[in-house]
Structures are given as C-alpha cells and as structure tokens.
C-alpha cells in the first residue's frame, strides 16, 4: 500500500468528525504497518519505550480496554489501569482533578472512556498529555470507527461507492457517529436503519440516508453493521418488546437470504445473541466480527504511535518558537 505523505500534527484523538479523509487514511496506512508486529515471534516494537499510557475508564469495558492495553504493551509503553465506577455526578474527585493527579505522575497518554459526551475534549483542554477517546457518552468512539473502516478496506480494498447500513440504536450510539464520519469521508454511502424512536434529532442533517425497514435495504448492501442495543442508555422503552424489535431489525438467517452473497456482517460487540442477530449469522461465513477485534489492535497501536508523534512535533515546534 503506498503511504500518502502527510505531516501528522495531532496529539489528541477526540473524534473522527475533526479529521480529513487524508488523515483517516494515514491512520489506516500506519495501522497496516503495525499489523506485522503481532505476527512476530516476540510481539513487541520499541516505539513507545519509556512512555506511560493510562487507561482511564469510567465505564465498563472489557474489549476496548484490553485492546488498548495490549496495543500499548506491544509498543513497549508502561500502562496504568485506572478504573472508576463512580459516576461524575456523584460526589467525589472531579474528572479534572483525577486527570491532573495522573499527569503529576508523569503520564504521556490518557486513554479515556466516559459516560459524558465531551469528557475527552474537556480533558484535552485542561491537561498537557495526549488524550485518546475510547468512547464518550453518545458522542464518538473513534478507534471503533477506524477499525471498522480498516476492516472493510482490507477486504473490499476501498470504501468508495460501497453501501453500508448501520442498524439499531443510532440515537445513543457513539459507534454509529464515528462510523458515519469515517465511512462517508472514505466515499461510502451510509444508510441508518432502525425505528424512528432510535434516530437522533435532526438526523436528516447528517450525510446519510435513513430507512425504517431493514427488509427494504438489505438487498443493496455491501456491509451491514449491527449495533448493540444498549438497554442501560435508554430511560424509556423506545420499542415495545425485544421480540418486536428483533422481528423488524434483527439480522436473521432468513433475512440474510435476501442479502448479497459477499455482504460483510459487522458488530462492535458485545453481541446480544438472538436480539441483534442470530448466532448462525454472527458465526457465519459473512461475519467479520472477530477480524474487527484483531484489526482493532493494529489500529490502536497506530493511534497511540501517532498521538505521541503529534506531541513530539508540537513540543519541537514550541522549542523552536521559544528560541
């Protein structure tokens, strides 16, 4: 793959909405280079040796956190795990104080997951370390968006002209938002599918199409990304029952018969088997769900590497300006 020459300047990864097509492609190309590390006998590169990465997770997560930890380890960084189950609204140390305390210990990169949209941006304004967003409320989950397009690009070569459906709880999904930005910037056509009660406000202003019928669109799709129904984010029932939801929006074996033979089936995990999709589909030949997880590692290595590079670039610039 011929790597486009751009000068990477960003020391934070807050959201894909802020990035250009070229920048997203640059991250994907960098990730491609890191894939090789995981195939070595000794699965390590010295890239971030002496750097400290903190996983600052205010929400439950297993795969994203493990993926970031492994990515940092493969780049030889030291990793601190910081898990805070207390929500920000309850009394306790503020997010800002927590971050400042960690920074006082000399950390270089903060990987943050938080239930409040905007928490990573808030942090990046107030501390010097690099900030990587590992999911903030209903706002963005940029590394998931990146690994999704990485996975598609790897199999289909390009996203240009592809029809991709994102199905489910769009309103509460940070994955959907990051996917929309990444996929449309790379030239794909995105169709959001789900009941109107799970669509966000002014969805028509996003660069997407909207459909309330999975059956109507499934035949045209090159990729289908089934979102997890997040019961914990729903205050009121946006649909009458799980059974009715599955009837209209579940990816069943029957429904798959209407799809293109080479459709890619994706899911950000963890799957509610039998709700978003039947097990036969999740484990079937079109499923790339586990490849998404594998690719997530390379993508997160690339992100950690690049934000660190961005920080070094900025430090250098400041030093030069200081002289």
């Amino acid at each position: 793959m011929n790597k486009k020459q751009i000068i990477w300047k960003h020391k934070h990864l807050i959201g894909l909405r802020d990035f250009s097509r070229e920048e997203i492609e640059y991250i994907l190309d960098t990730a491609h280079g890191f894939e090789e590390v995981s195939t070595r006998n000794i699965k390590k590169a010295p890239t971030l040796r002496g750097k400290v990465v903190v996983n600052l997770f205010f929400e439950d997560s297993t795969r994203t956190r493990n993926s970031f930890t492994l990515a940092a380890n493969r780049l030889s960084a030291d990793v601190i795990e910081f898990t805070e189950k207390v929500s920000s609204t309850s009394k306790g140390e503020t997010l800002l104080d927590t971050a400042r305390n960690l920074e006082a210990m000399g950390i270089d990169i903060v990987v943050i997951r938080h239930s409040a949209g905007g928490a990573p941006k808030f942090l990046s304004r107030n501390i010097n370390a690099c900030v990587v967003n590992a999911g903030d409320g209903c706002c963005e989950h940029p590394t998931q968006g990146l690994l999704d397009v990485y996975t598609i690009r790897k199999i289909k070569d390009s996203l240009e002209g592809l029809k991709i459906a994102i199905v489910g709880d769009i309103a509460h999904s940070r994955v959907a938002r990051s996917d929309i930005y990444a996929m449309t910037k790379l030239g794909a056509e995105v169709i959001l599918v789900g009941p109107p009660t799970l669509m966000p406000a002014k969805v028509e202003q996003l660069p997407v199409k909207v459909s309330y019928s999975l059956d109507d669109v499934i035949g045209q799709l090159d990729v289908i990304n089934m979102l997890r129904i997040q019961f914990e984010r729903m205050g009121v029932n946006p649909f009458p029952s799980v059974k009715e939801y599955s009837h209209y929006f579940g990816l069943t074996v029957d429904r798959m018969k209407k799809a293109k033979k080479d459709i890619l089936v994706m899911h950000p995990g963890p799957i509610n088997r039998g709700l978003e999709m039947e097990s036969e589909v999740a484990d079937g030949p079109n499923s790339v769900i586990l490849r998404q997880v594998t690719n997530g590692l390379a993508v997160r290595m690339a992100v950690l590497f690049l934000v660190n590079q961005g920080a070094m670039m900025q430090d250098k610039k400041e030093r030069l300006e200081g002289q």
């Binding site: 920000s88 503020t94 800002l96 949209g117 905007g118 406000a201 002014k202 202003q205």
Partner: protein, 429 residues
C-alpha cells in the same frame, strides 16, 4: 430635613410620560418632584451631559441564592451587582435551599435587601411547597409578607390539575402574578442542551423545544379558564413566541420575558462543551432568535430579564452533562440588550426603556418604572456610547460563570439612584 437631588443636562427618556428630550430631573426626599426645564439649588447635583437619564431599570428574574447557596451569591453581593448593572429593582426567584415557600423566608429576603441598601429586592414565592408540585404553598401569608407573585422557577408545575388549582386560588389576591418556567419534564427528559443537530453530533441529550411549548400551550388553556394573570419566563423558541402572540390577540392576561442569552447565543456555542453556555431553557437556533427579536419589535415581549444564575467555578468546571445550568449576566445585561436590540436597530431607546422599566413594573405591580411626579426617585444614568470590555474579575457578583467575558459592549452605567440616593456611581468603582 429635606434632601434634594438635581440631574441636569441629561437626555431624559420616560416612555410612560412620553418624555424624550433634554430636561432636568429634580427629586426631594427620595421622590420625583419635577421633570422639565427647571434649575434649582440641590444638595446633590449630577451633570448628566451626553448621558441618558431613565427610570430605574427593573430585572424581574434573578437568583441571589440566599438562603442555602451563599457561596455562589448573597442578597448583598447580588444587590451590589444589580446596581452596578443599573438595576434599581430586582425580583428574586424562590428556587433556593430551602425554597422560598412561606412568609418567614419572604420577610427574610426583604430584610436582607433593605439592610444591604443597594437595590429594591422583591420576592416571588413558590407556588407549591418545596417547589415539589404537589401541595399549594401558603400564598396568602406570602402575599401579606410582600411577595409580588409565585413561581416554581427552575421547574414548571407539571401536573395540569395542580396548575389549574394554583391559578384559581391565586386569583383571589390582588396584584399578584403567577409565573412559569415552562418545561414539560417528560419531554425534556435528561436533556442538557437544545435538541437538534448540535446535540446529535455532540452526543448530548437534548431538550426538545416542545418541552417549553407544550407546557405554555397547556397554561394558556388554564389561563383562559381562570383569567388569572400569568407570566411566561425566559421565552426561548419561535413557537412559544407565536403561542404568546395568539394568546395576547385573544386578550388573555399573559405577559412574558426574554433573557439576553436567548437574543445573542445559539446552541452552536455548546460545541466546545464550555459549561458557561449550559443554561435552561437551553440556547436555541438562529431562527428562534429571529422570531424573538421580531416579537420584541412588535411589542409582544413585555420584559427583558437576565435570569442571572450564579454558580461557582468548581461547579462549572465539570463535564457538560454534570455541570449545573445557569449564566451570570446581571452586571452586563444592559450592554447585552443594547448589542442585541439597539445596535441592529430592532427597537429604539424609548422602547428599550419601556421593556426594562415601565412594563416590568406593571408585571410585578409596583408603582415604579416611570419618572412621574411623586414617584420614588429610582433613576439610572447611562452613557450609551461608552464602550467597555466585560471583565468577570471586576464583577460584584460572587460568581464568574459568564460567557460574555472579554466581549466589547456599549452602554456604561454612570449612576444608579434608588429612592433619591446614589447607590452606585461609576467613578467610585
């Protein structure tokens, strides 16, 4: 011993008495004695050449946080902020801790206001006990203690039967207004900003404009039934404006107010998650601002009110989801109104004075808002063209949660005179 005050050479604007020109104002013993081409000896003489002399400005919606949150604001600090902003009267909202829902609290606020000797401090009591929306508060006793109206401000009365009962009951008292923060909680949900494209991309829960409009529509039906005088707080949407326009056309006893942030800021301002822009009702869209400005031009809006809502830095220095709602703007409110309404020529000065003094006085049924003979000498003297930069560190308010910090505004308050006494002078500040 009588004390006299002469304000000479100023340009006097008194819409109630149709005065709009260069005349002098003479006051004896705290009351207006004469307005005209008079020249008398006085104990105090103010040369107001090049300045506007207007009836003392009235802000019918402020939060002075006392009792309960004195670290954010007190009657004393809030009153100092008020006179610095040119306001000779303010109305404190009852969403304190505990809520102002009985006569003793009302008396307490009045007493603190008097002792501070800055601005007149009026009180709206809570409609329901503890602002919980379940049982009527002792409105009668609060009226006797001097409350000028009632509201559960901070939230609306959710239950329509409860609201109907409140309007009916209150209608037996003279010169009282029932005022509502229109927000249907079932529609507002856990929202923290306007529901729209921006809330979608920011991943923050939105407050649908319908939350405001639905309760307003409901209340209009209740007002039609009871004919009780009703006031809509901080109107923020284009449809709310239309509902009020129709209700007024119908002749219903409805008034309304608009806050400066709903004239100058849109939800675009939330895009950096700066919590100084987190306010309730939330910042809306350009279309809403346009409709509100048109309504002001058409005389549909009766009052401008700051909704001055002070909060500590530590409270605002949080994630957007977690920070409290509110903007502190009492001290720069006049400049904001000038920027929003006078500079783009939406209205002229007499119209501005009308909705900042004359009409607000009528809403709260106080004999103020004019420079008529015999009225209390509450007067604000303004240098309309003086440009200054908002600096929160110079605020008299205890809180600095003001998104206008650094803005260049016109309209400097030179003197704030309450009952014939100079309670604020720019030279001494």
């Amino acid at each position: 011993m009588s004390k006299s005050l002469l304000i000479k050479n100023g340009f006097v604007i008194d819409p109630a008495n149709k005065i709009n020109g260069k005349v002098n104002v003479y006051a004896i013993d705290g009351k207006i004695a004469d307005v005209g081409k008079i020249d008398k000896q006085a104990d105090t003489v103010i040369d107001a050449a090049g300045k506007l002399v207007v009836p003392g400005l009235i802000d019918i919606h402020v939060h002075f946080r006392e009792p309960g949150d004195e670290e954010e604001e007190t009657i004393a600090s809030g009153s100092a902020a008020a006179v610095a902003g040119g306001f000779t009267s303010v109305v404190c909202m009852p969403n304190t801790e505990p809520a102002i829902d009985e006569a003793t609290s009302v008396e307490y606020i009045h007493r603190m206001g008097r002792q501070t000797r800055k601005t007149h401090v009026y009180v709206m009591g809570a409609i329901t006990k503890g602002r919980a929306g379940e049982q009527l508060a002792e409105m009668g006793f609060m009226v006797q203690a001097g409350a000028i109206g009632f509201t559960d401000d901070g939230s609306g009365v959710q239950n329509p039967a409860m609201m109907l009962r409140a309007l009916k009951y209150a209608s037996m008292f003279k010169n009282i207004v029932i005022s509502q923060h229109c927000q249907d909680n079932s529609l507002a949900g856990t929202g923290v900003m306007n529901s729209g494209y921006n809330s979608t991309i920011l991943g923050l829960p939105g407050i649908d404009p319908l939350a405001e409009e639905m309760m307003l529509w409901r209340d209009i039906q209740l007002v039609r039934k009871t004919n009780m005088r009703y006031h809509v707080q901080h109107v923020s949407t284009a449809r709310s404006v239309e509902l009020i326009r129709q209700a007024k056309k119908e002749g219903l006893p409805i008034t309304c107010e608009v806050a400066p942030h709903h004239l100058l800021l849109t939800d675009d301002a939330c895009c950096d998650y700066d919590t100084n822009y987190k306010v309730n009702p939330p910042l809306r869209t350009e279309a809403d601002i346009k409709a509100i400005k048109q309504a002001i031009k058409d005389g549909i809006i009766d009052a401008l009110a700051s909704d001055h809502a002070p909060h500590l830095k530590s409270e605002k220095e949080l994630e957007f989801l977690a920070a409290p709602f509110g903007i502190a703007s009492l001290e720069c409110a006049l400049g904001l109104y000038i920027k929003a309404l006078i500079e783009p020529k939406i209205i002229d000065w007499p119209q501005l004075v009308s909705i900042m003094a004359e009409k607000p006085a009528k809403i709260i049924s106080v004999d103020k808002g004019t420079l008529g003979k015999g009225k209390q000498a509450d007067i604000t003297i303004i240098d309309p063209d003086y440009e200054y930069t908002v600096d929160v560190n110079k605020f008299h308010s205890k809180s600095k949660n003001c998104p206008y910090n650094g803005w260049k505004l016109k309209g400097k308050v030179e003197y704030t005179i309450v009952g014939g006494e100079i309670r604020y002078s720019a030279q001494e500040n």
